[in-house]
Structure formats: structure tokens, C-alpha cells
Symmetry: C2
Subunit: 111 residues, 2 copies
DNA sequence: ACAACATTTATCCGATCGGTTAAATGTTGT
DNA sequence: ACAACATTTAACCGATCGGATAAATGTTGT
């Protein structure tokens, strides 16, 4: 597998993970500290298996790490997984600022 | 509809749009300048209707604007649509840096 | 008017998604 | 050993996804 394909797969996984509001709420919850699956599930109206599957998706994206703690499973946010996504977005925002700048120059030079 | 629901829907749309490699390639193409649907489709091995649907998804996310130009349709990237996504990601990266900082302090103070 | 062209709409297909319930698994405390 | 608990796996459901092809629509040049 080439590096490009790998990076692509990572971006797929991260953006897919963030594309669901339930998963974004889980991320928000974990940003306030690690939690067990049950704790994460508590405020949601959906079943535990559904939460477990969401955690799988977040795990595949590298955003959540799970660690056994007795009969519990501690889930921790790993925000480093956001880096490739942040980089991609920053790139296009830069492009946009450059475009605006060019436009401004154009209007200035040739009014 | 509440503002929160609206913001959520926007994030859904943008992250969903970016979750597909074909759509990311389209965005990359448009970052180098606006293009017609045919021009966008040219480097891809998939059908025109498929491209048209991808442009719909990008359009719903606000990332691509389409404007009739004779019998062509000019597509333009609007990177401002990335703002809410960039903000969300930045928030969690900040959290992460704060967490690392706290950890560093902790190790320092109590080695 | 009409033929060629650019793009979309309609319809269909198999795969994946987000959810469910029921059963299985792993872990703990007594 | 066993009962209670935390979580996952399995199997299923309807909806959506990404793709295809065929037909429709809108636009242009002659």
C-alpha cells in the first residue's frame, strides 16, 4: 500500500467519524476527560451496542483509544488523529485567503 | 429549527462531503481554479452522473457553488464553508495541547 | 429547425450505515 | 462456583451511498 493510499484512508476514517452528530457528542464528552463505555452511553437515548459501534468507528479513525480496566473499558480521546484533517482544511483555507488577497490586489490595481 | 441543530447539520454536511476521496480530489482540483463539470470529471474513471452527484454533496455542504455559463456549469470552491469544521477541530487540538501541558507540569512537579 | 453538446434526472444495484434486540463473552465480588 | 455486571458479537431492518446506464433537459451553432 502506498503512502498516499494510507493518508487517504486515514482522512476517510477521520472525516467519516466526525460526520455523525452522535460521534461528535462522544468526542466532546471525551474532551472533558476519559470515560467508560457506560458513562459515555449514559446521556444518549440509544442502545449500548449502538454506542459500542460508534466507538469502533472513532477507534478506526484513531480518535479514541480503549484500555481494559477490570470489567470496564476506559476510552480516551487522542486528538493527534485530527492532525491530517486539520492540515487538509488549513491548506484550503490558505488557498482561500490567497484568492481573496489576489482579488483585493486586482480590484486595487485596476478599479 | 434551533441554531444548534443548524450548526450540527452544517458540520454533518461538511464532514460527510470530505469523507470521500473522490470528493476530496474534486475539492483539490477546484482549489487550483474554478472548472466546468466536464473538466472536473475528465481525470476520473467514473461516469458523469456520478460526478454530478458528488458535486451535489459538495454543494449541500456549501463547499462548491455552481453557476450557469451558457451550456456549461462553472463550479467554484468556497472554502469559507470549512470554517465550522476548522473551528471544531481547532477546539479539540487545543484541548489536546492543554492536556499535554498539564501532563508536563504534573511530571515536573511530582517526578 | 435541428443536430450536437453539457449536464441532470430517473431508475436500479449491491454495499454500507445507524439502529434494534438477543445471545455471548469477559470480569468481578461473594 | 456463581450471580451480577460491562461490554461486544450476531443477526436483522430500513435508509442512504456510490456507482451504473438510459432517458430527459437545457443550450448553442449552423
Amino acid at each position: 500500500m502506498s503512502r498516499a493510499a494510507t493518508a487517504d484512508a486515514r482522512l476517510d476514517a477521520v472525516f467519516t467519524a466526525l460526520a455523525d452528530p452522535t460521534r461528535r457528542r462522544i468526542v466532546a464528552r471525551l474532551a472533558r476527560g476519559s470515560a467508560t463505555v457506560g458513562e459515555i452511553a449514559e446521556p444518549f437515548a440509544i442502545s449500548l451496542p449502538a454506542i459500542s459501534k460508534h466507538l469502533d468507528v472513532l477507534g478506526r479513525a484513531g480518535l479514541v483509544q480503549r484500555e481494559r480496566e477490570g470489567r470496564f473499558q476506559r476510552c480516551t480521546l487522542d486528538a493527534r488523529a485530527l492532525d491530517p484533517a486539520a492540515e487538509l482544511i488549513a491548506r484550503y483555507r490558505d488557498f482561500w485567503e490567497d484568492a481573496l488577497e489576489r482579488l483585493a490586489r486586482y480590484v486595487e490595481d485596476d478599479p
